[in-house]
Symmetry: C2
Subunit: 175 residues, 2 copies
């Protein structure tokens, strides 16, 4: 809570390569939005990904923000809350989550491929969602699920398009 | 339990396009492996993805299997257990999970892009992990987390490479 208002959750995506990581980074951003993150910062400038995420927000609602072309070290140096780095080398999720103050603002660093050692050092918590190679998309979703105590399942987006849960077929309301 | 032995979890990835979905499908396969699935079946033949997943299994352990170039309808028609299809249009995860018999074998269908209506009909359960657009990688991870009651955090892989959880740096044992 940098200004006494409600707590802020920000994802910092580093090492994004426009062509190679296009779809994975899009999934990272959409997971961030769906699981209650306020804003994603992406180190590489990428206008296309900004447009695609804003288009989703415009149709499906919520206040999610995206900014690309940020300087990761500057963001980290200016951050007043807790910093978490998701990594398969990190400490166990269940153990780490107990130590993280959920009243504080949180910056969650999500790397693509090899992450420079600087980020391991800069993080207050290096957190693993299992110590097997899998996916930063899944790791972010699981971390946010535990950190927000499953808030994604109750979050309201109030978008122009709303999907009604259904066991068969597609029920969509367009406002 | 098709043969009286222990329960089997299989993921069926449909609609995989070799170039476009290469990395997302790799993440789906790695999440399947890390979160306790026994085997992934991929509709499109893709030797490269087979090699890359087998290389991970060889180094990091476990009995995970991959087969590509399968016929989805044939798999579904021959399946004796429960069939789940993950979709943003599906019924709520928490509600669905209570209805699924966890002693039965389970086939989990994970689509890429638009899924033909056949699969919605063929599934016993269409399940959503939130009704917002996000990622089949995240949806699979969350589904498996709930379905296996967090088994991923206790699963042993006994691989040549083992990562020791750590809050700073990288602790790796190579056997």
């Amino acid at each position: 809570m940098q200004d006494g208002s409600i707590q802020v959750i920000v994802v910092l995506r580093i090492g994004h390569r426009i062509n190679r990581d296009k779809r994975i980074t899009t999934h990272v951003a959409l997971v961030a939005r769906a699981f209650g993150v306020d804003k994603i910062l992406i180190s590489t400038k990428d206008v296309k990904i900004e447009e695609s995420i804003r288009s989703i927000c415009n149709r499906f609602g919520g206040d999610f923000q995206i900014e690309t072309g940020v300087k990761p070290k500057k963001i980290i140096q200016g951050w007043k809350g807790v910093i978490v780095h998701l990594s398969m080398y990190g400490d166990k999720l269940e153990k780490s989550i107990k130590k993280i103050d959920t009243n504080d603002d949180i910056l969650i660093i999500v790397g693509a491929e090899k992450v420079p050692f600087y980020f391991y050092e800069a993080a207050d918590f290096n957190v693993s969602v299992g110590n097997q190679p899998h996916s930063e998309v899944a790791a972010l979703a699981l971390f946010l699920d535990r950190y927000t105590k499953g808030m994604w399942s109750r979050k309201k987006f109030d978008g122009k398009i709303e999907i009604i849960p259904s066991n068969k077929g597609k029920k969509v309301i367009s406002k």
